[in-house]
Symmetry: C2
Subunit: 381 residues, 2 copies
């Protein structure tokens, strides 16, 4: 066994996904490489001074220990991880929050004394203004610091790595098309089924999904399509130089069909929102029936299309797919993403599977951590 | 731009795939990293002494130049790549042959003065006796040498990398099931279609595939299932410690249903073989019709099943799948591989797309080369 100095890990946002990351890191082969130094929730901080621990111990101490340091805010975390005396190098910051302020601080963190790497399922930094994205790239340039974000799209599914491999080996991407939101997948797999006239109203499907915990606390946050727009933005920014596609305002530059009825925009109370949603069932019913008459189902998809206009087109919204199409026969809350390229044409390269949930998202994170470690250590884990 | 010493590349077996590798390496960002030093075909050797060249130049010189060194055999190549004075380090050997003798020499090559890495789509070394596989692992242990073989299964599709990510992050693989052979995919997608009574005889489908260049020169080399058995062996050996699955004789330890009628075993002349194949159409017809009555199609699949017996089961052969199953709706010569695991359950993680052809196989090779380079150089390409 090669003796190596471990990578010092800080996990920010030990919620559902973060806890799973801690648990997955409990494997002996990973424990040899990754030393958890600090855990943050939105309220607490746990500094791990010992080298021998179990995941369960850490989680329970974080949750129960009254003496945990109370968190002073994002600025405190940034200051801590940027200080190589407090957090020894090599360091690896895992951002399991969905926090914009922390994402905004990535360039500062990555400019601190290195090596300091970042792995995150947080979409905010990569789907916001192009300037933030550029600042992150700039901070890493000329340093050994690595940034990985596989879990921002499709959770543990190999989406960003696959796109990157196509691009770096010189393939020409023609079209990326997919069902990127687990919630949207679930809603439309229920609402609009191949060859079958369903009677459940759209608002009932949403209510069922909400009751099962498949939606955000406010279902409007799923229905507005911004999650899909963010993922499209991340993919579009990883197309390499083969496109001049420009999304200066990030996901806000992506034309997105919101399924939140205009009359319900601003209804911030989820209960009020759900109470009024049935008023709009008729229009969803109409769309579904029109699709059915065409032998199609409705799906909420994201599309990056480079075959039309020179600069390409990105959009999120409802589309119709024939009953036998892989998007139509999807079940559960699966994601499906298809890459059509010069090489993968006419048949695309397709990746499909669960694209949400703590365990598969954590897998995307830990998979990225392994990539960082293998690139840093120079041998297989 | 970071200045780096390039990686010295030798490509052995510049045939269809090898030529595509040379062409894909013509990209400026890859040319900065990979310096092609030597090309081998089965008959010729081209030593590239200059640092500036184009892919087309190299290929045409290799093909036309009468002064090319004539190849003295595998032993000469092994001697050359193992000699760090002849092939400067860091070195990267690309084996695009399907040669067993060269594969047998990997341990010697990887034991030569390093760093010397290996990337290959050649299945032979990893699907043969377990002893050769172990010798390769042993040769790399304690060295910086890396071995990547993504293109041995599914060509450019992310199959081995996905399996590895599941395993290394602690997921428990339950079942891997897939259509692994492009030829078998094509044959059965034609022969047995969902919901449609086809009338083309099995031998006619094989003859059509052969005429289109979709089969090996002798179609029996596809129909015997050994290609699938080899791929299953490679996957089974990448399951990590979660299984005690033992395949001491490699692909020959995988129970495989050969579609070569026993009366035609040993008919080495392809023309004779094709002439006699129609005698056996009736039995294929019977299997297809039985499947159809059950609402199913026939597919030639490979299965690694860890849910039954403690040590797991690996097998290749014909199975029936319902008309709506993703394996049934496959088209062309696509591969489809499904991973069911503790996390990806009940719905599996599925990867689908072209699994054969020079360009996508070369992409798998060049993608692996990029991984080797990024792990060696410490920065993104």
């Amino acid at each position: 066994m090669v003796s190596v100095s471990p990578i010092n890990v800080v996990i920010v946002g030990v919620g559902l996904v973060g806890e799973q990351v801690v648990h997955q890191l409990d494997l002996p082969n990973l424990k040899r490489i990754f030393r958890i130094r600090t855990l943050y929730t939105s309220k607490k901080k746990l500094v791990v001074s010992e080298d021998v621990y179990t995941a369960s111990e850490l989680i329970s101490r974080l949750k129960s220990d009254q003496s945990n340091e109370v968190l002073g805010g994002v600025e405190d975390i940034v200051e801590y991880v940027s200080n190589s005396k407090k957090l020894p190098r090599p360091a690896l910051v895992i951002d399991c929050t969905s926090n914009q302020t922390f994402a905004d601080a990535y360039p500062r963190i990555l400019s601190s004394p290195g090596p300091i790497h970042l792995v995150t399922p947080n979409k905010k930094a990569f789907s916001g203004p192009a300037s933030l994205n550029k600042a992150i790239d700039d901070a890493c340039r000329g340093t050994p610091n690595l940034v990985y974000k596989e879990a921002t799209v499709g959770a543990g599914l190999p989406i960003i790595s696959t796109l990157r491999e196509l691009v770096v080996t010189g393939d020409e991407i023609l079209k990326i098309e997919g069902i990127f939101s687990g919630t949207m997948s679930y809603l439309f797999n229920q609402f609009s089924q191949p060859g079958k006239r369903t009677t459940t109203r759209f608002s009932e499907v949403v209510a069922g999904a909400k009751a099962n915990g498949y939606t955000e606390p406010h279902p409007g946050d799923d229905l507005n399509g911004s999650d899909v727009a963010r993922k499209l933005c991340i993919l579009a920014r990883n197309l390499g130089s083969s496109t001049t596609l420009s999304l200066p305002d990030g996901f806000q530059s992506v034309p997105t069909q919101s399924l939140v009825p205009s009359q319900l925009v601003g209804v911030d109370d989820p209960t009020d929102f759900m109470k009024r949603l049935p008023e709009f069932d008729e229009q969803f019913e109409k769309l579904k029936n029109e699709a059915f008459e065409d032998g199609c189902v409705l799906r909420f998809v994201g599309i990056v299309d480079l075959t039309g206009k020179a600069e390409g087109e990105v959009k999120a919204g409802l589309e119709k797919y024939p009953f036998a199409h892989p998007f139509a026969t999807l079940t559960g809350s699966d994601n499906i993403i298809s890459f059509r390229s010069k090489r993968y044409s006419p048949n695309p390269l397709i990746v499909q599977g669960s694209g949400a949930g703590a365990d598969v998202t954590a897998m995307g994170v830990v998979g990225d951590m392994v990539k960082v470690a293998e690139r840093t250590l120079g041998h297989n884990i």
